[in-house]
């Protein structure tokens, strides 16, 4: 079970992580060229934080959707539409809810990952965040089917995401799309914050 307050805390925590790792994220992005990922995500998550007060009474769907539109309209770059879509889809499947059970949470992530895949046109193995997200969703689904507890399911998802990200390492040099490093750092934090 996850309450709206926990969702708000989760967003705040994610914003803090981004703020703390801002320079590191840009440095990792510099490896593929433009050194802006830290500034982009920082700008976006600060804007999300600024919206939280007016969301104090809102339902989870509204909170997550607002986070999504805010990311889309403040981040830009590749990460704006992708993170934005993820949260927009989270919000779309959780409209009106004040708590989420494991089934809700699994559905939200499933929709989120589908949205990101549609928007980014990346497939598993393409060396994008999809490689971390897809195994995480699989883990959530398995947990749901097995009746695992909410917290154990989140741990399993985080572990699966981490493994998925690690599995892209060898692809990195070979395929050369090299989004790898930026991916991995963000991919880690995201499910990490989730659990």
């Amino acid at each position: 079970m996850m309450t709206r307050d926990e969702i708000l805390n989760w967003l705040t925590e994610f914003a803090t992580l981004v703020a703390e790792n801002r320079e590191r994220l840009s440095e990792l992005d510099a490896a593929i060229g433009d050194a802006d990922h830290g500034a982009n995500m920082y700008r976006g998550m600060q804007a999300v934080l600024a919206k939280l007060p007016i969301l104090a009474a809102a339902d989870i769907g509204t909170i997550l959707k607002t986070a999504g539109t805010t990311l889309v309209s403040t981040v830009g770059g590749a990460s704006g539409p992708l993170y934005g879509t993820l949260f927009l889809q989270f919000g779309g499947t959780t409209v009106g809810k004040m708590t989420l059970d494991l089934a809700d949470w699994t559905a939200a992530w499933q929709a989120g990952v589908e949205g990101v895949t549609r928007r980014g046109k990346a497939e598993p193995g393409d060396k994008t965040m999809i490689d971390a997200l897809v195994p995480a969703v699989e883990a959530l689904r398995t947990a749901l089917a097995n009746g695992t507890s909410f917290n154990a399911a989140l741990d399993a998802a985080a572990a699966a995401a981490e493994q998925g990200a690690l599995a892209t390492i060898p692809l990195s040099a070979r395929k050369g799309r090299a989004s790898y490093l930026g991916e991995r750092s963000v991919g880690h934090q995201d499910p990490g914050a989730t659990s």
């Binding site: 593929i32 802006d36 500034a39 889309v72 403040t74 830009g76 590749a78 539409p81």
Partner: protein
């Protein structure tokens, strides 16, 4: 970091304010969301052309807004594509009822944000067609994003399509023209130095004093290869070779040659580069019928250049010669 700026996070908005003040005769500027439209927008019945991308490439794209070129430009953060709502607001501001063409450089972020904006504009009943420019022969599949990067051909496509829109062509025609320009243009760039992103404060990559990077993009992406410094005639050969081979350009072709500086390159060097380009083209029996020379698509303070060749046809050439009146490009009337 040596830059004429205040707070790094305010560079884009302060530059935009400066642009608005300097060019109030040509454009109207919205700061939030950030976009630049020509002063007389919207033009009833004319196809509107919207472009945009990360900042740090000045004068692109804001300097190309005006009569005969772009109707709107959407500047994102430094090296970061603009957001859908910037693009959507700009689209609304310039839509003259004849549809809107988005000219998008091929980077994942640009493509996705313009795509989202197009969906939102479409939902409002504004007809939008996007054309993606991908002319950089330095990459087959870029390190940076899927497919070739969009570089110098963007400037040429914006000028040529702007003239076609001004001449009253339909959205479908202008979009098709844009695809043709993209199909007939090839570019490649090189860097003598890296660039410094203001919010990072140090060079994106380290380039030793005796090395240069061949096949660079416009955001400090890694090039095709790193080589020792060489005389400019060898440098130009390294760029022109892949360009000529790729289209391929052939003896008897007439081309538009665009020699572009990357922001930290003095003009005197671009003239030396142009002289080498002209020499090499002549050796291949290719005639340079038109040229553009200057720093039009930059990469912050990077020193280096890019070369774009566009194979001309009568239509391209007529549209290139048509009047243009923007902050950065002006001729005819």
């Amino acid at each position: 970091m040596k830059k004429l700026i205040n707070q790094p996070e305010n560079v884009v908005v302060e530059a935009l304010e400066g642009f608005a003040l300097a060019h109030h005769d040509l454009v109207r500027v919205s700061l939030d969301p950030a976009y630049i439209v020509r002063a007389d927008a919207p033009i009833r019945g004319k196809v509107a052309i919207v472009s945009g991308g990360g900042s740090g490439h000045e004068p692109m794209h804001g300097g190309f807004v005006g009569q005969g070129m772009l109707d709107a430009a959407c500047p994102g953060a430094i090296f970061t594509s603009p957001t859908p709502d910037q693009i959507l607001d700009a689209t609304r501001a310039v839509n003259g009822g004849a549809g809107v063409l988005y000219i998008v450089k091929n980077y994942t972020g640009d493509v996705m944000n313009f795509e989202m904006a197009a969906e939102l504009a479409g939902a409002e009943g504004i007809e939008v067609v996007s054309v993606v420019i991908a002319d950089d022969v330095a990459v087959e599949d870029s390190l940076f994003t899927a497919g070739r990067r969009g570089v110098g051909a963007t400037v040429l496509a914006e000028k040529i399509c702007g003239a076609a829109a001004a001449a009253g062509r339909s959205l479908a025609e202008v979009a098709e023209l844009c695809r043709e320009v993209n199909a007939q243009a090839r570019s490649m760039g090189m860097a003598l130095t890296s660039c410094v992103v203001p919010q990072v404060g140090k060079p994106t990559f380290d380039l030793p004093a005796d090395q240069m990077e061949i096949g660079i993009g416009i955001h400090g992406e890694p090039g095709r290869r790193r080589v020792p410094l060489a005389p400019v005639h060898e440098v130009v050969e390294m760029l022109i070779g892949p360009i000529l081979a790729d289209l391929p350009f052939r003896t008897g072709d007439a081309v538009l040659a665009f020699v572009n500086g990357l922001g930290g390159t003095p003009l005197i060097e671009l003239y030396v580069v142009y002289q080498e380009v002209a020499k090499l083209c002549q050796e291949q029996g290719i005639s340079i019928a038109r040229n553009l020379l200057g720093s039009y698509m930059t990469s912050l303070d990077m020193a280096g250049c890019s070369i774009t060749l566009l194979k001309l046809n009568a239509d391209f050439q007529r549209l290139w010669d048509a009047p243009v009146h923007t902050a950065a490009l002006r001729w005819g009337r």
